[in-house]
């Protein structure tokens, strides 16, 4: 074998030394390669997330009313924040956000856990059922909202009709016209749409629990419910904690579904912070105040995440 020929050859021609592929190859051997790989995505995220966010922060300290060029765009410092303290709609939205987030998560978690436990038994047919059960999570919010809007319509909706047929309702029910049922209906639709997220994560967590633990529990005489309480849930703690925090972020931040289902009504009974900020910006054109509302949301979320992470760590010890 003529080895000398096939050991890596140094660039022989000018072309080779400027060949871009070759140059990238050379670059990949430097010790900064890992940072170079991160550079494009980091730049992109900085441009589309960090810069706009900082911009949003400064916006919250300015007057920015698009339909009132006469008031200018001066710095107003904490004016918007002071207004917020005295704004009953802000406090109402905060309260509604709390109800919306906690109820949705509680419901999603319960259904998600039940579904995951059932699917995890790996009975025949589970694969198909899993596809069907996970499907809602991947549907567009807009379409999910309208599908349920049609089904819950007081006059033409199939749900009222079904409930009347089985005798649970004696007249038609306008779900989104009554503050109590409006929030409840929105929570149910949201849960329908998002519970598979919990199912997904919990299923993954369940796969990670050693089967020996259950065998040992069987021998010790622990029943299924005791096993759930003593083995499954404690072993899933981290994953549940992660799922909850991701969902809290999602629920607090995205007004899509409520925007389509109720627009915050009736009478602000489903008004949440994200929706309020959105409407403040695009209905009232008060970008400064909308910015301040968003900043408060962000701070609340960060605070929540921090406390939550700390609490779930403390419990572990």
């Amino acid at each position: 074998m003529s080895r000398a020929l096939y050991t890596a050859a140094p660039p022989r021609t000018v072309w080779e030394s400027i060949n871009p592929l070759r140059m990238i190859g050379e670059l990949s051997e430097t010790r900064y390669w890992m940072y170079l790989l991160l550079l494009p995505s980091a730049l992109l995220i900085t441009a589309v997330v960090l810069y706009p966010t900082l911009y949003g922060f400064q916006m919250s300290f300015r007057e920015m009313r698009l339909n009132r060029p006469d008031v200018g765009t001066d710095w107003v410092f904490f004016k918007h924040y002071i207004r917020m303290v005295n704004d009953p709609i802000f406090w109402l939205s905060l309260r509604n956000t709390a109800i919306w987030v906690t109820s949705s998560i509680a419901l999603e978690f319960l259904i998600g856990l039940t579904a995951a436990l059932a699917l995890n038994r790996n009975l025949p047919g589970t694969k198909l059922l899993a596809v069907l059960i996970l499907l809602p999570y991947f549907l567009p919010n807009v379409v999910a909202g309208h599908m349920w809007g049609l089904m819950l319509d007081p006059r033409l909706g199939v749900i009222n009709d079904l409930l009347m047929r089985v005798g649970l309702l004696d007249g038609y029910k306008a779900w989104f016209a009554d503050p109590k049922t409006a929030m409840a209906a929105a929570i149910i639709v949201e849960s329908w749409h998002s519970f598979p997220f919990f199912t997904l994560l919990i299923m993954a967590g369940l796969k990670g629990i050693p089967a020996d633990l259950y065998k040992a529990a069987d021998i010790d005489g622990a029943g299924p419910l005791a096993q759930l309480r003593l083995i499954t849930l404690p072993m899933l703690k981290t994953i549940i904690a992660a799922a909850v925090i991701l969902r809290v972020i999602g629920l607090v931040n995205s007004p899509d579904l409520l925007l389509i289902l109720t627009s915050g009504g009736p009478g602000r009974s489903t008004q949440v912070l994200s929706l309020y900020a959105f409407q403040m910006a695009y209905k009232d054109f008060n970008f400064g105040y909308a910015g301040a509302l968003s900043v408060v949301m962000f701070v609340l979320l960060m605070g929540f995440a921090w406390i939550y992470v700390r609490l779930s760590k403390v419990n572990e010890d």
Binding site: M1, R3, Y6, T7, A8, E29, R31
Partner: protein
């Protein structure tokens, strides 16, 4: 084929120093075994030789070429990994020929080289398979084929046998030895298995905590371990360490220990300075024989292994393991005396652990 020279190589991850000032010289065609417990830095050293990780200082020279700033692909080395690292998406043929493909060797030549290597390793019938369809031993052979086809300056083996079962391991060990004899390529071989080290290496470097404890021929390592660590690491069952005080009576050395006195006439070491001071005597179990005089104690454990019988003797509170013939099967609690071949005894300084 080339010599390998490592001078003052260091490596640290942050404040953690995993290699401290490593010096190694290996002659052309030599077989160097890097031996040590896990975490001793031997695999890191191998990665540095391969160029997969940059060193924090020092020089690596392969042949006449300083390769500090040479990419792995340009070092003309070949490596066999513990997990074999066969490319799962490629056939065995392409796996073996991949290095040649990368070096733009024309297909006919490449096929011939692959065939030759496959022949040598008797894996010709596996060439069209994917790695997933191979057994552990077959994968091992493919991994070796991939290395030898390149005809590199230097072979690197990273614990290549540790994923095999006991029988295959012995078989492959022999195979590697044969390959080395036949190809004569310089080899660096990392293992934690002392048998592999003893059987394969022309040179062994025993490492611990990033420091080479001893770098010598295997025989020297065995007979004259540089310190207590090397003595304990090499040999199975492990070396007995008998604590005592070195005494000299009428010019005759002896070791006074809890269970009596051991005559050290014929000791190979110059130990003058230690007379009257506590020392540790390293005694290999296989050098102990049943006899009338020597060290005496009571039998605590008897472990027949087939060809041998291991006997653990309580000598004044210190335990001494002896490898005896299969017919020597003392009873538990029985008193026993074993002779010690003083020429095979090594004395260590109890403070530093170094051989005196």
């Amino acid at each position: 084929m080339a010599t390998l020279s490592i001078k003052g190589v260091r490596k640290s991850f942050g404040s953690l120093e995993v290699l401290k000032n490593i010096d190694i010289e290996l002659e052309d065609g030599g077989f160097l075994v890097l031996l040590g417990p896990s975490g001793c830095g031997k695999s890191t050293l191998l990665s540095i030789i391969a160029g997969l990780e940059p060193s924090s200082g020092g020089d690596v020279t392969i042949g006449e070429r300083n390769v500090n700033n040479v990419h792995p692909k340009d070092r003309n080395i070949a490596m066999v990994f513990q997990s074999y690292a066969l490319y799962p998406t490629m056939s065995v043929r392409r796996n073996i020929g991949f290095g040649l493909e990368m070096r733009k060797m024309p297909t006919p030549e490449r096929d011939a080289a692959v065939k030759k290597a496959a022949d040598l390793l008797q894996i010709e019938h596996l060439l069209e398979r994917k790695p997933g369809q191979l057994s552990g031993g077959q994968r091992q052979r493919v991994a070796m084929g991939r290395a030898i086809v390149r005809d590199p300056d230097l072979f690197l083996f990273d614990e290549p046998l540790s994923n095999l079962d006991a029988k295959l391991r012995v078989e492959m060990r022999t195979e590697i030895k044969r390959l080395h004899d036949r190809l004569g390529t310089t080899i660096v071989y990392v293992t934690h298995d002392q048998i592999e080290a003893m059987t394969l290496g022309t040179k062994v470097a025993v490492m611990r905590n990033g420091v080479i404890q001893q770098f010598a021929d295997p025989q020297i390592i065995y007979e004259q371990p540089a310190n207590v660590f090397v003595a304990a690491f090499i040999g199975s069952p492990t070396t007995n360490f008998l604590n005592g005080t070195l005494e000299a009576t009428n010019g005759l050395l002896s070791l006074r220990h809890g269970g009596g006195s051991l005559d050290l006439g014929g000791l190979q070491q110059d130990v003058g300075a230690f007379v009257g001071r506590p020392v540790v005597a390293g005694i290999r179990p296989e050098t102990l024989q049943v006899a009338e005089t020597g060290v005496s104690g009571t039998v605590e454990v008897v472990e027949p292994t087939g060809p041998d019988t291991m006997v653990i003797l309580n000598v004044g509170g210190q335990m001494l393991t002896a490898r005896l013939g299969s017919r020597d099967r003392p009873k538990l609690g029985q008193a026993m005396t074993l002779s010690v071949d003083a020429r095979a005894v090594n004395l260590f300084d109890p403070d530093s652990g170094d051989r005196i």
